[in-house]
Protein backbone atom coordinates (compact mmCIF):
# COMPACT_ATOMS: atom_id res chain seq x y z
CA UNK A 1 0.00 0.00 0.00
CA UNK A 2 1.42 3.34 -0.97
CA UNK A 3 0.59 6.72 0.47
CA UNK A 4 -1.50 9.19 -1.49
CA UNK A 5 0.12 12.30 -2.90
CA UNK A 6 -0.25 15.14 -0.46
CA UNK A 7 1.11 18.66 -0.84
CA UNK A 8 3.40 20.04 1.86
CA UNK A 9 1.52 22.42 4.22
CA UNK A 10 4.25 25.04 3.94
CA UNK A 11 2.29 27.95 5.39
CA UNK A 12 1.49 25.85 8.48
CA UNK A 13 5.10 24.77 8.84
CA UNK A 14 6.33 28.33 8.39
CA UNK A 15 3.92 29.62 10.98
CA UNK A 16 4.91 26.84 13.40
CA UNK A 17 8.58 27.48 12.69
CA UNK A 18 8.33 31.19 13.47
CA UNK A 19 6.38 30.58 16.67
CA UNK A 20 8.71 27.83 17.82
CA UNK A 21 11.60 30.28 17.61
CA UNK A 22 9.86 32.39 20.23
CA UNK A 23 9.56 29.44 22.61
CA UNK A 24 13.16 29.71 23.75
CA UNK A 25 13.76 33.37 23.22
CA UNK A 26 17.07 33.74 25.00
CA UNK A 27 18.67 30.72 23.36
CA UNK A 28 17.43 31.62 19.90
CA UNK A 29 18.28 35.29 20.39
CA UNK A 30 21.87 34.33 21.23
CA UNK A 31 22.02 32.13 18.13
CA UNK A 32 20.51 34.89 16.02
CA UNK A 33 23.09 37.30 17.39
CA UNK A 34 25.92 34.88 16.64
CA UNK A 35 24.73 34.45 13.04
CA UNK A 36 24.30 38.21 12.63
CA UNK A 37 27.76 39.00 13.99
CA UNK A 38 29.32 36.33 11.78
CA UNK A 39 27.50 37.57 8.68
CA UNK A 40 28.31 41.20 9.50
CA UNK A 41 31.94 40.17 9.94
CA UNK A 42 31.92 38.34 6.62
CA UNK A 43 30.28 41.31 4.86
CA UNK A 44 32.78 43.78 6.29
CA UNK A 45 35.77 41.55 5.63
CA UNK A 46 34.57 40.81 2.10
CA UNK A 47 34.12 44.52 1.49
CA UNK A 48 37.63 45.24 2.77
CA UNK A 49 39.07 42.45 0.62
CA UNK A 50 37.14 43.86 -2.36
CA UNK A 51 38.49 47.30 -1.52
CA UNK A 52 42.00 45.87 -1.32
CA UNK A 53 41.41 44.04 -4.61
CA UNK A 54 40.08 47.13 -6.37
CA UNK A 55 42.91 49.19 -4.89
CA UNK A 56 45.53 46.86 -6.27
CA UNK A 57 43.89 46.76 -9.69
CA UNK A 58 43.41 50.53 -9.80
CA UNK A 59 46.98 51.09 -8.64
CA UNK A 60 48.23 48.70 -11.32
CA UNK A 61 46.11 50.42 -13.98
CA UNK A 62 46.94 53.93 -12.74
CA UNK A 63 50.68 53.34 -12.66
CA UNK A 64 51.06 53.99 -16.40
CA UNK A 65 49.60 50.62 -17.35
CA UNK A 66 45.99 51.39 -18.27
CA UNK A 67 43.61 48.57 -19.06
CA UNK A 68 45.27 47.78 -22.38
CA UNK A 69 48.65 48.64 -23.74
CA UNK A 70 50.11 48.54 -27.26
CA UNK A 71 53.83 47.75 -27.19
CA UNK A 72 56.47 46.81 -29.72
CA UNK A 73 57.35 43.12 -29.59
CA UNK A 74 60.14 42.43 -27.12
CA UNK A 75 59.77 45.74 -25.28
CA UNK A 76 58.66 44.07 -22.04
CA UNK A 77 61.79 41.94 -21.92
CA UNK A 78 64.22 44.65 -22.97
CA UNK A 79 62.67 48.10 -22.86
CA UNK A 80 64.39 50.70 -25.00
CA UNK A 81 63.89 53.13 -27.84
CA UNK A 82 64.83 50.44 -30.36
CA UNK A 83 61.44 48.80 -29.54
CA UNK A 84 59.32 51.62 -30.95
CA UNK A 85 56.45 51.99 -33.38
CA UNK A 86 54.57 54.75 -35.11
CA UNK A 87 51.10 55.73 -33.99
CA UNK A 88 48.73 54.75 -36.82
CA UNK A 89 46.67 57.52 -38.34
CA UNK A 90 43.13 57.52 -36.95
CA UNK A 91 43.88 54.28 -35.00
CA UNK A 92 41.38 55.08 -32.27
CA UNK A 93 38.52 54.77 -34.79
CA UNK A 94 38.94 51.02 -34.28
CA UNK A 95 37.60 51.51 -30.74
CA UNK A 96 34.38 53.16 -31.93
CA UNK A 97 31.52 51.99 -29.74
CA UNK A 98 33.86 50.87 -26.97
CA UNK A 99 33.56 53.13 -23.89
CA UNK A 100 37.10 54.50 -23.78
CA UNK A 101 37.98 56.78 -20.86
CA UNK A 102 41.17 57.97 -22.59
CA UNK A 103 44.44 56.99 -24.19
CA UNK A 104 48.00 58.22 -24.03
CA UNK A 105 51.02 57.72 -26.32
CA UNK A 106 54.34 57.60 -24.47
CA UNK A 107 58.01 56.97 -24.77
CA UNK A 108 59.49 55.07 -21.85
CA UNK A 109 63.22 54.52 -21.90
CA UNK A 110 65.89 53.81 -19.35
CA UNK A 111 67.97 56.90 -18.65
CA UNK A 112 70.53 58.31 -16.27
CA UNK A 113 69.82 61.52 -14.37
CA UNK A 114 72.72 63.54 -13.11
CA UNK A 115 72.66 66.45 -10.73
CA UNK A 116 75.70 68.31 -9.55
CA UNK A 117 75.96 65.87 -6.64
CA UNK A 118 74.31 62.56 -7.51
CA UNK A 119 73.50 60.23 -10.38
CA UNK A 120 70.54 57.89 -10.60
CA UNK A 121 69.27 55.38 -13.13
CA UNK A 122 65.57 55.92 -13.75
CA UNK A 123 62.84 55.39 -16.31
CA UNK A 124 62.36 58.52 -18.37
CA UNK A 125 58.83 58.92 -19.67
CA UNK A 126 57.82 61.27 -22.45
CA UNK A 127 54.17 62.19 -22.06
CA UNK A 128 51.47 64.40 -23.50
CA UNK A 129 50.21 65.94 -20.20
CA UNK A 130 46.81 66.65 -21.71
CA UNK A 131 46.26 62.88 -22.15
CA UNK A 132 47.55 61.71 -18.79
CA UNK A 133 44.25 62.00 -16.97
CA UNK A 134 44.17 58.20 -17.42
CA UNK A 135 47.17 57.68 -15.09
CA UNK A 136 48.33 58.88 -11.70
CA UNK A 137 50.27 61.70 -13.45
CA UNK A 138 46.99 63.45 -14.19
CA UNK A 139 46.03 64.10 -10.57
CA UNK A 140 49.19 63.59 -8.57
CA UNK A 141 50.07 66.37 -6.12
CA UNK A 142 52.88 68.52 -7.49
CA UNK A 143 54.99 71.16 -5.81
CA UNK A 144 56.26 73.61 -8.40
CA UNK A 145 54.72 73.33 -11.85
CA UNK A 146 53.24 70.51 -13.90
CA UNK A 147 54.38 69.92 -17.45
CA UNK A 148 52.50 72.32 -19.69
CA UNK A 149 52.25 70.27 -22.90
CA UNK A 150 53.91 67.62 -25.03
CA UNK A 151 56.55 70.11 -26.14
CA UNK A 152 57.50 71.06 -22.56
CA UNK A 153 61.22 70.48 -22.20
CA UNK A 154 61.31 70.44 -18.40
CA UNK A 155 61.29 67.54 -15.98
CA UNK A 156 58.71 66.38 -13.46
CA UNK A 157 60.45 64.35 -10.75
CA UNK A 158 59.27 62.42 -7.74
CA UNK A 159 60.07 64.04 -4.41
CA UNK A 160 62.00 61.01 -3.24
CA UNK A 161 64.15 61.05 -6.40
CA UNK A 162 64.79 64.76 -5.99
CA UNK A 163 66.02 64.07 -2.46
CA UNK A 164 68.30 61.34 -3.75
CA UNK A 165 69.67 63.66 -6.42
CA UNK A 166 69.76 66.50 -3.88
CA UNK A 167 68.04 68.77 -6.36
CA UNK A 168 64.90 70.89 -6.35
CA UNK A 169 62.45 72.83 -8.49
CA UNK A 170 64.25 75.14 -10.93
CA UNK A 171 67.50 73.19 -10.80
CA UNK A 172 69.06 71.84 -13.92
CA UNK A 173 69.77 68.15 -14.51
CA UNK A 174 71.56 66.26 -17.24
CA UNK A 175 69.72 63.37 -18.85
CA UNK A 176 71.56 60.59 -20.68
CA UNK A 177 69.71 58.04 -22.79
CA UNK A 178 70.23 55.94 -25.89
CA UNK A 179 68.92 57.58 -29.06
CA UNK A 180 66.95 55.98 -31.88
CA UNK A 181 70.21 55.61 -33.81
CA UNK A 182 71.79 53.62 -30.97
CA UNK A 183 74.08 56.40 -29.92
CA UNK A 184 73.95 57.96 -26.49
CA UNK A 185 72.23 61.33 -26.26
CA UNK A 186 72.66 63.84 -23.54
CA UNK A 187 70.63 66.96 -22.81
CA UNK A 188 70.01 69.42 -20.03
CA UNK A 189 66.54 69.68 -18.42
CA UNK A 190 65.28 72.05 -15.77
CA UNK A 191 63.09 70.68 -12.97
CA UNK A 192 59.52 72.03 -13.37
CA UNK A 193 57.98 70.33 -10.34
CA UNK A 194 58.16 67.52 -7.82
CA UNK A 195 55.32 65.04 -7.56
CA UNK A 196 54.19 63.42 -4.35
CA UNK A 197 53.25 59.85 -5.31
CA UNK A 198 51.33 57.42 -3.12
CA UNK A 199 54.49 55.88 -1.67
CA UNK A 200 58.11 56.41 -2.59
CA UNK A 201 58.32 53.62 -5.19
CA UNK A 202 56.75 55.71 -7.95
CA UNK A 203 58.66 58.81 -6.88
CA UNK A 204 62.00 57.06 -7.24
CA UNK A 205 61.25 55.15 -10.44
CA UNK A 206 59.99 57.75 -12.89
CA UNK A 207 60.91 61.13 -14.33
CA UNK A 208 58.57 62.78 -16.84
CA UNK A 209 59.10 65.21 -19.66
CA UNK A 210 57.15 66.32 -22.73
CA UNK A 211 56.71 63.58 -25.35
CA UNK A 212 57.76 65.78 -28.28
CA UNK A 213 60.81 67.03 -26.43
CA UNK A 214 61.93 63.46 -25.67
CA UNK A 215 61.22 62.36 -29.27
CA UNK A 216 63.38 65.24 -30.42
CA UNK A 217 66.17 64.31 -28.02
CA UNK A 218 66.10 60.63 -29.06
CA UNK A 219 65.72 61.44 -32.75
CA UNK A 220 62.42 59.76 -33.51
CA UNK A 221 58.76 60.54 -34.06
CA UNK A 222 57.68 57.10 -32.84
CA UNK A 223 56.48 55.98 -29.39
CA UNK A 224 57.21 52.91 -27.28
CA UNK A 225 53.63 52.44 -26.03
CA UNK A 226 50.03 53.51 -26.24
CA UNK A 227 48.09 53.09 -23.02
CA UNK A 228 44.27 52.80 -23.24
CA UNK A 229 41.91 53.14 -20.32
CA UNK A 230 38.27 52.00 -20.56
CA UNK A 231 35.27 53.28 -18.65
CA UNK A 232 35.02 49.91 -16.90
CA UNK A 233 36.94 46.68 -17.01
CA UNK A 234 34.50 43.84 -17.54
CA UNK A 235 36.35 41.01 -19.29
CA UNK A 236 34.09 40.95 -22.41
CA UNK A 237 34.68 44.67 -22.96
CA UNK A 238 38.42 44.23 -22.52
CA UNK A 239 38.42 41.34 -24.97
CA UNK A 240 36.55 43.38 -27.58
CA UNK A 241 38.97 46.29 -27.25
CA UNK A 242 42.01 44.00 -27.41
CA UNK A 243 40.69 42.26 -30.54
CA UNK A 244 40.10 45.54 -32.35
CA UNK A 245 43.48 46.98 -31.38
CA UNK A 246 45.20 43.82 -32.60
CA UNK A 247 43.52 44.33 -35.97
CA UNK A 248 44.86 47.91 -36.06
CA UNK A 249 48.34 47.02 -34.78
CA UNK A 250 48.94 43.52 -36.10
CA UNK A 251 52.73 43.84 -35.74
CA UNK A 252 52.66 45.02 -32.11
CA UNK A 253 51.84 43.37 -28.81
CA UNK A 254 48.38 44.32 -27.50
CA UNK A 255 48.15 43.24 -23.87
CA UNK A 256 45.62 43.44 -21.03
CA UNK A 257 46.49 44.84 -17.62
CA UNK A 258 46.38 41.42 -16.00
CA UNK A 259 49.06 40.20 -18.43
CA UNK A 260 51.18 43.30 -17.89
CA UNK A 261 50.81 43.13 -14.09
CA UNK A 262 50.66 39.39 -13.36
CA UNK A 263 51.38 39.84 -9.68
CA UNK A 264 48.42 42.18 -9.22
CA UNK A 265 46.24 39.85 -11.31
CA UNK A 266 47.26 36.87 -9.16
CA UNK A 267 46.43 38.82 -6.01
CA UNK A 268 43.11 39.73 -7.63
CA UNK A 269 42.24 36.06 -8.06
CA UNK A 270 43.53 35.23 -4.61
CA UNK A 271 41.15 37.81 -3.15
CA UNK A 272 38.21 36.05 -4.82
CA UNK A 273 39.26 32.79 -3.24
CA UNK A 274 39.99 34.45 0.12
CA UNK A 275 36.44 35.76 0.28
CA UNK A 276 35.03 32.30 -0.24
CA UNK A 277 37.40 30.58 2.21
CA UNK A 278 36.84 33.21 4.90
CA UNK A 279 33.10 32.80 4.53
CA UNK A 280 33.29 29.02 4.79
CA UNK A 281 35.53 29.09 7.88
CA UNK A 282 33.36 31.54 9.78
CA UNK A 283 30.01 30.08 8.81
CA UNK A 284 31.09 26.47 9.22
CA UNK A 285 32.01 27.22 12.83
CA UNK A 286 28.57 28.70 13.22
CA UNK A 287 26.88 25.66 11.74
CA UNK A 288 27.91 23.58 14.76
CA UNK A 289 26.09 26.02 17.01
CA UNK A 290 23.05 25.83 14.78
CA UNK A 291 23.10 22.03 14.71
CA UNK A 292 23.37 21.96 18.50
CA UNK A 293 20.45 24.34 18.94
CA UNK A 294 18.27 22.45 16.49
CA UNK A 295 19.06 19.06 18.01
CA UNK A 296 18.21 20.47 21.45
CA UNK A 297 14.96 21.90 20.07
CA UNK A 298 14.06 18.56 18.50
CA UNK A 299 14.86 16.63 21.68
CA UNK A 300 12.82 19.06 23.77
CA UNK A 301 9.89 18.60 21.43
CA UNK A 302 10.13 14.83 21.06
CA UNK A 303 6.69 14.36 22.57
CA UNK A 304 5.14 17.06 20.43
CA UNK A 305 6.74 15.76 17.24
CA UNK A 306 5.54 12.26 18.15
CA UNK A 307 2.04 13.62 18.60
CA UNK A 308 2.19 15.36 15.21
CA UNK A 309 3.26 12.07 13.65
CA UNK A 310 0.46 10.28 15.51
CA UNK A 311 -2.10 12.70 14.15
CA UNK A 312 -0.97 12.08 10.60
CA UNK A 313 2.03 14.29 9.86
CA UNK A 314 4.24 12.46 7.42
CA UNK A 315 7.97 11.91 8.05
CA UNK A 316 8.81 14.18 5.10
CA UNK A 317 6.71 16.96 6.59
CA UNK A 318 8.56 16.62 9.91
CA UNK A 319 11.87 16.94 8.02
CA UNK A 320 10.56 20.02 6.27
CA UNK A 321 9.52 21.56 9.57
CA UNK A 322 13.01 21.21 11.05
CA UNK A 323 14.65 22.44 7.83
CA UNK A 324 12.30 25.42 7.71
CA UNK A 325 13.01 26.35 11.32
CA UNK A 326 16.72 26.28 10.56
CA UNK A 327 16.25 28.38 7.43
CA UNK A 328 14.04 30.89 9.24
CA UNK A 329 16.59 31.56 11.98
CA UNK A 330 19.40 31.61 9.43
CA UNK A 331 17.49 34.01 7.17
CA UNK A 332 16.70 36.30 10.10
CA UNK A 333 20.35 36.21 11.21
CA UNK A 334 21.59 36.87 7.67
CA UNK A 335 19.17 39.79 7.23
CA UNK A 336 20.29 41.36 10.51
CA UNK A 337 23.93 40.61 9.73
CA UNK A 338 23.67 42.19 6.28
CA UNK A 339 22.12 45.26 7.86
CA UNK A 340 24.91 45.55 10.45
CA UNK A 341 27.61 44.74 7.89
CA UNK A 342 26.27 47.27 5.38
CA UNK A 343 26.08 49.85 8.16
CA UNK A 344 29.73 49.24 9.02
CA UNK A 345 30.73 49.53 5.36
CA UNK A 346 28.80 52.81 5.13
CA UNK A 347 30.46 54.03 8.33
CA UNK A 348 33.88 53.30 6.81
CA UNK A 349 32.94 54.78 3.43
CA UNK A 350 35.76 57.33 3.59
CA UNK A 351 38.27 54.54 4.02
CA UNK A 352 40.69 53.28 6.66
CA UNK A 353 43.93 55.20 6.92
CA UNK A 354 46.82 52.75 6.47
CA UNK A 355 49.54 55.37 6.17
CA UNK A 356 51.09 54.16 9.44
CA UNK A 357 51.99 50.97 7.58
CA UNK A 358 52.84 52.71 4.30
CA UNK A 359 55.87 50.56 3.43
CA UNK A 360 53.93 47.30 3.67
CA UNK A 361 50.90 48.83 2.00
CA UNK A 362 53.01 50.03 -0.93
CA UNK A 363 54.67 46.65 -1.17
CA UNK A 364 51.25 45.07 -1.56
CA UNK A 365 50.49 47.49 -4.39
CA UNK A 366 47.85 49.31 -2.38
CA UNK A 367 47.10 52.89 -1.58
CA UNK A 368 47.38 54.38 1.87
CA UNK A 369 43.57 54.54 2.32
CA UNK A 370 41.58 51.30 2.14
CA UNK A 371 37.97 51.91 1.13
CA UNK A 372 35.60 48.93 1.66
CA UNK A 373 33.49 48.03 -1.35
CA UNK A 374 30.20 46.18 -0.93
CA UNK A 375 29.26 44.19 -4.03
CA UNK A 376 25.80 42.82 -4.79
CA UNK A 377 27.36 39.54 -5.94
CA UNK A 378 29.08 39.07 -2.58
CA UNK A 379 25.86 39.83 -0.69
CA UNK A 380 24.06 37.26 -2.85
CA UNK A 381 26.85 34.74 -2.17
CA UNK A 382 26.66 35.26 1.60
CA UNK A 383 22.86 35.00 1.56
CA UNK A 384 22.70 31.95 -0.68
CA UNK A 385 25.52 30.08 1.03
CA UNK A 386 24.15 30.86 4.50
CA UNK A 387 20.75 29.45 3.59
CA UNK A 388 22.42 26.41 2.08
CA UNK A 389 24.40 25.93 5.30
CA UNK A 390 21.14 26.39 7.21
CA UNK A 391 19.63 23.50 5.24
CA UNK A 392 22.73 21.34 5.72
CA UNK A 393 22.83 22.10 9.44
CA UNK A 394 19.22 20.98 9.79
CA UNK A 395 19.67 17.58 8.14
CA UNK A 396 21.03 15.78 11.20
CA UNK A 397 18.40 17.25 13.60
CA UNK A 398 15.72 16.46 11.00
CA UNK A 399 16.96 12.88 10.81
CA UNK A 400 16.75 12.69 14.60
CA UNK A 401 13.19 14.04 14.42
CA UNK A 402 12.15 11.47 11.82
CA UNK A 403 13.56 8.65 13.92
CA UNK A 404 11.09 9.53 16.67
CA UNK A 405 8.47 6.80 17.02
CA UNK A 406 5.11 8.46 17.70
CA UNK A 407 4.09 5.95 20.31
CA UNK A 408 7.38 5.97 22.22
CA UNK A 409 7.52 9.76 22.07
CA UNK A 410 4.07 10.17 23.56
CA UNK A 411 4.75 7.69 26.32
CA UNK A 412 7.63 9.81 27.62
Amino acid sequence: MTAQRRSMPLSLLFSLGVRNLFRHRRRNFMLLLAISVAVAGVVLTNSLIRGFQADMRDAAVDNLTGHIKVLAPGYRDDPGIDKRFNVAEGWHDSLAGVPVAGWAPRIRVPAVLMSERETRGIELVGIDPSREDISFVGDVAVSGERLANAADGRLLLGKALAEQLRTDVGYRLVVMAQGADGLNREAGFRVAGLFDGDGTGLEKAFAFTGLERLQSMLGTSAVTEISVRLEHDEPPLLDTAVRRLRETYPAQDVLRWDTLEPQAAAMFEYADMAIFIWFLILMSALVFGLVNTLVTAVMERTRELGMLRALGMRPGTVVMQVVLESCIIMAAGVALGLLIGSGLVWWLRDGIDLSAWSDGVELAGMRSTLVPRLRAGDVALVTGMSLLLGVLASLYPAWRAVKIKPLEAMQR
Partner: protein, 233 residues
Protein backbone atom coordinates in the same frame (compact mmCIF):
# COMPACT_ATOMS: atom_id res chain seq x y z
CA UNK B 1 -21.19 1.17 3.29
CA UNK B 2 -19.31 -1.45 5.34
CA UNK B 3 -20.89 -1.75 8.78
CA UNK B 4 -17.66 -2.97 10.36
CA UNK B 5 -15.28 -0.11 11.14
CA UNK B 6 -12.57 -2.14 12.86
CA UNK B 7 -11.75 -5.77 12.38
CA UNK B 8 -8.87 -7.49 14.18
CA UNK B 9 -7.95 -11.01 13.13
CA UNK B 10 -5.67 -13.05 15.40
CA UNK B 11 -3.72 -9.95 16.39
CA UNK B 12 -0.63 -10.69 18.44
CA UNK B 13 1.85 -8.15 19.70
CA UNK B 14 5.06 -9.35 21.28
CA UNK B 15 7.68 -7.09 22.86
CA UNK B 16 11.19 -8.28 23.53
CA UNK B 17 12.24 -7.41 27.07
CA UNK B 18 15.86 -8.51 27.72
CA UNK B 19 15.38 -11.32 25.20
CA UNK B 20 12.29 -12.48 27.07
CA UNK B 21 9.19 -12.19 24.88
CA UNK B 22 6.36 -10.28 26.52
CA UNK B 23 2.95 -10.89 25.00
CA UNK B 24 0.93 -7.68 25.02
CA UNK B 25 -1.76 -9.17 22.77
CA UNK B 26 -2.41 -12.86 22.16
CA UNK B 27 -4.36 -13.62 19.01
CA UNK B 28 -7.11 -11.08 19.55
CA UNK B 29 -10.17 -11.29 17.31
CA UNK B 30 -12.26 -8.18 17.66
CA UNK B 31 -14.76 -6.13 15.68
CA UNK B 32 -16.22 -2.66 16.12
CA UNK B 33 -19.36 -1.74 14.20
CA UNK B 34 -20.27 1.72 12.98
CA UNK B 35 -21.86 3.87 15.69
CA UNK B 36 -20.66 1.79 18.63
CA UNK B 37 -19.24 3.28 21.84
CA UNK B 38 -16.78 0.67 23.06
CA UNK B 39 -14.58 0.73 26.13
CA UNK B 40 -11.55 -1.51 26.35
CA UNK B 41 -11.09 -2.20 30.02
CA UNK B 42 -8.67 -4.15 32.11
CA UNK B 43 -5.85 -3.75 34.56
CA UNK B 44 -2.46 -2.31 33.65
CA UNK B 45 -0.65 -4.66 31.27
CA UNK B 46 -3.87 -6.27 30.05
CA UNK B 47 -3.22 -5.01 26.50
CA UNK B 48 -6.01 -2.44 26.16
CA UNK B 49 -3.72 0.45 25.16
CA UNK B 50 -1.72 -1.84 22.85
CA UNK B 51 -4.94 -2.88 21.10
CA UNK B 52 -5.96 0.75 20.75
CA UNK B 53 -2.53 1.62 19.33
CA UNK B 54 -2.48 -1.14 16.73
CA UNK B 55 -6.02 -0.21 15.65
CA UNK B 56 -4.81 3.39 15.30
CA UNK B 57 -1.76 2.39 13.22
CA UNK B 58 0.57 3.74 15.92
CA UNK B 59 1.95 0.27 16.50
CA UNK B 60 2.14 -2.78 14.27
CA UNK B 61 1.02 -6.23 15.30
CA UNK B 62 3.66 -8.95 15.38
CA UNK B 63 1.20 -11.23 13.62
CA UNK B 64 -2.41 -11.06 12.50
CA UNK B 65 -3.95 -8.15 10.65
CA UNK B 66 -6.26 -5.22 11.23
CA UNK B 67 -8.74 -3.59 8.88
CA UNK B 68 -10.00 -0.06 9.40
CA UNK B 69 -13.06 0.94 7.41
CA UNK B 70 -12.62 -2.14 5.24
CA UNK B 71 -8.93 -1.62 4.44
CA UNK B 72 -6.33 -4.08 5.76
CA UNK B 73 -3.29 -2.32 7.20
CA UNK B 74 -0.72 -5.15 7.08
CA UNK B 75 1.22 -3.81 4.10
CA UNK B 76 0.84 -0.11 4.84
CA UNK B 77 4.00 2.04 4.72
CA UNK B 78 4.69 4.62 7.45
CA UNK B 79 3.37 7.38 5.20
CA UNK B 80 0.26 5.37 4.32
CA UNK B 81 -0.40 4.80 8.02
CA UNK B 82 0.06 8.53 8.58
CA UNK B 83 -2.53 9.18 5.87
CA UNK B 84 -4.91 6.70 7.50
CA UNK B 85 -4.57 8.43 10.87
CA UNK B 86 -5.04 11.83 9.26
CA UNK B 87 -8.11 11.02 7.18
CA UNK B 88 -9.96 8.23 8.96
CA UNK B 89 -9.08 8.37 12.64
CA UNK B 90 -9.43 10.86 15.42
CA UNK B 91 -7.23 10.61 18.51
CA UNK B 92 -7.81 11.87 22.04
CA UNK B 93 -4.84 11.37 24.35
CA UNK B 94 -4.76 11.46 28.13
CA UNK B 95 -2.31 14.40 28.09
CA UNK B 96 -4.36 16.30 25.46
CA UNK B 97 -1.17 16.83 23.42
CA UNK B 98 -2.09 20.21 22.02
CA UNK B 99 0.55 22.32 20.30
CA UNK B 100 1.50 24.98 22.84
CA UNK B 101 2.36 27.72 20.32
CA UNK B 102 -1.03 27.50 18.58
CA UNK B 103 -4.35 28.88 19.81
CA UNK B 104 -7.33 26.56 20.42
CA UNK B 105 -8.75 27.38 16.99
CA UNK B 106 -5.37 26.88 15.31
CA UNK B 107 -4.92 23.56 17.10
CA UNK B 108 -8.21 22.38 15.61
CA UNK B 109 -7.48 23.98 12.26
CA UNK B 110 -3.99 22.61 11.82
CA UNK B 111 -5.19 19.04 11.27
CA UNK B 112 -7.32 20.36 8.38
CA UNK B 113 -4.30 22.23 7.12
CA UNK B 114 -2.40 18.93 7.02
CA UNK B 115 -5.27 17.59 4.95
CA UNK B 116 -4.91 20.48 2.53
CA UNK B 117 -8.29 22.09 3.25
CA UNK B 118 -8.49 25.70 2.04
CA UNK B 119 -8.11 28.54 4.55
CA UNK B 120 -11.64 29.92 4.79
CA UNK B 121 -13.26 26.48 4.94
CA UNK B 122 -10.72 25.45 7.58
CA UNK B 123 -11.50 28.36 9.85
CA UNK B 124 -15.24 27.90 9.45
CA UNK B 125 -15.09 24.16 10.23
CA UNK B 126 -12.79 24.68 13.23
CA UNK B 127 -15.08 27.35 14.69
CA UNK B 128 -18.19 25.22 14.07
CA UNK B 129 -16.58 22.33 15.95
CA UNK B 130 -15.46 24.53 18.86
CA UNK B 131 -18.99 25.92 19.00
CA UNK B 132 -20.48 22.42 19.05
CA UNK B 133 -18.25 21.59 22.02
CA UNK B 134 -19.18 24.83 23.77
CA UNK B 135 -15.73 26.42 23.78
CA UNK B 136 -15.91 28.83 20.85
CA UNK B 137 -15.25 31.76 23.19
CA UNK B 138 -11.86 30.19 24.00
CA UNK B 139 -10.83 29.99 20.35
CA UNK B 140 -8.07 32.56 20.67
CA UNK B 141 -6.46 31.15 23.80
CA UNK B 142 -3.36 29.02 23.82
CA UNK B 143 -3.32 25.66 25.66
CA UNK B 144 -1.42 27.15 28.59
CA UNK B 145 -4.35 29.49 29.18
CA UNK B 146 -6.94 26.69 29.32
CA UNK B 147 -7.99 24.30 32.10
CA UNK B 148 -7.50 20.53 31.72
CA UNK B 149 -11.16 20.00 30.78
CA UNK B 150 -11.06 22.83 28.25
CA UNK B 151 -7.88 21.43 26.71
CA UNK B 152 -9.47 18.00 26.44
CA UNK B 153 -12.46 19.55 24.68
CA UNK B 154 -10.10 21.25 22.22
CA UNK B 155 -8.41 17.87 21.69
CA UNK B 156 -11.80 16.29 20.97
CA UNK B 157 -12.65 19.11 18.57
CA UNK B 158 -9.32 18.48 16.81
CA UNK B 159 -10.09 14.74 16.66
CA UNK B 160 -13.58 15.25 15.24
CA UNK B 161 -13.09 18.16 12.87
CA UNK B 162 -11.92 15.85 10.10
CA UNK B 163 -15.10 13.77 10.53
CA UNK B 164 -13.18 10.53 11.15
CA UNK B 165 -14.79 7.11 10.88
CA UNK B 166 -13.43 6.25 14.32
CA UNK B 167 -12.54 8.19 17.45
CA UNK B 168 -9.84 6.53 19.58
CA UNK B 169 -9.48 7.81 23.15
CA UNK B 170 -6.66 6.53 25.35
CA UNK B 171 -7.40 7.12 29.04
CA UNK B 172 -9.27 10.35 28.22
CA UNK B 173 -10.12 11.01 31.87
CA UNK B 174 -6.68 10.32 33.34
CA UNK B 175 -5.91 13.96 34.07
CA UNK B 176 -9.42 15.22 34.78
CA UNK B 177 -11.43 15.53 37.99
CA UNK B 178 -14.73 13.67 38.33
CA UNK B 179 -16.97 16.60 37.37
CA UNK B 180 -14.93 17.41 34.28
CA UNK B 181 -14.79 13.72 33.39
CA UNK B 182 -18.57 13.50 33.55
CA UNK B 183 -18.87 16.57 31.32
CA UNK B 184 -16.47 15.00 28.87
CA UNK B 185 -18.28 11.66 28.90
CA UNK B 186 -21.63 13.37 28.41
CA UNK B 187 -20.11 15.05 25.40
CA UNK B 188 -18.76 11.77 23.99
CA UNK B 189 -22.11 10.07 24.55
CA UNK B 190 -23.88 12.95 22.82
CA UNK B 191 -21.49 12.74 19.86
CA UNK B 192 -22.03 9.01 19.71
CA UNK B 193 -25.82 9.18 19.91
CA UNK B 194 -26.51 12.31 17.90
CA UNK B 195 -23.71 12.30 15.35
CA UNK B 196 -23.18 8.54 15.17
CA UNK B 197 -19.46 8.89 15.92
CA UNK B 198 -17.87 5.48 16.51
CA UNK B 199 -15.81 5.62 19.70
CA UNK B 200 -13.31 3.21 21.19
CA UNK B 201 -11.71 4.10 24.53
CA UNK B 202 -9.04 2.35 26.51
CA UNK B 203 -9.59 2.97 30.21
CA UNK B 204 -9.51 1.55 33.66
CA UNK B 205 -11.80 4.27 34.95
CA UNK B 206 -15.19 2.72 35.91
CA UNK B 207 -16.89 6.01 35.17
CA UNK B 208 -15.71 5.96 31.57
CA UNK B 209 -16.69 2.31 31.27
CA UNK B 210 -20.16 3.11 32.54
CA UNK B 211 -20.78 5.47 29.63
CA UNK B 212 -19.79 2.93 26.96
CA UNK B 213 -22.56 0.80 25.53
CA UNK B 214 -20.17 -2.09 24.95
CA UNK B 215 -17.47 -3.00 27.47
CA UNK B 216 -14.69 -5.30 26.37
CA UNK B 217 -12.63 -6.78 29.17
CA UNK B 218 -9.01 -7.64 28.44
CA UNK B 219 -6.77 -9.81 30.56
CA UNK B 220 -3.19 -10.89 29.83
CA UNK B 221 -3.44 -9.72 26.23
CA UNK B 222 -6.63 -11.55 25.40
CA UNK B 223 -10.32 -10.69 25.47
CA UNK B 224 -11.69 -12.11 28.68
CA UNK B 225 -15.30 -11.15 28.03
CA UNK B 226 -17.61 -8.34 27.11
CA UNK B 227 -20.86 -6.85 28.28
CA UNK B 228 -23.38 -4.51 26.71
CA UNK B 229 -24.97 -1.56 28.46
CA UNK B 230 -28.43 -3.06 28.22
CA UNK B 231 -27.24 -6.36 29.67
CA UNK B 232 -25.18 -4.58 32.30
CA UNK B 233 -28.28 -2.74 33.35
Amino acid sequence: MNDVVVECRAVTRVYQDDSVPVYALRGVDFQVRRGEFVSLAGPSGSGKSTLLNVIGGLDRPTSGDIAVDGVWLGTFSESALADLRLHKLGFVFQDYNLIPVLSARENVEFILQLQGVAGSERRQRAMTMLQALGISELAGRRPGELSGGQQQRVAIARALVTEPVLLLADEPSANLDTATTEDLLDLLRQLNLERGVTIVTATHDPLVMSYARRRVQLKDGAIAGETHAEAAG
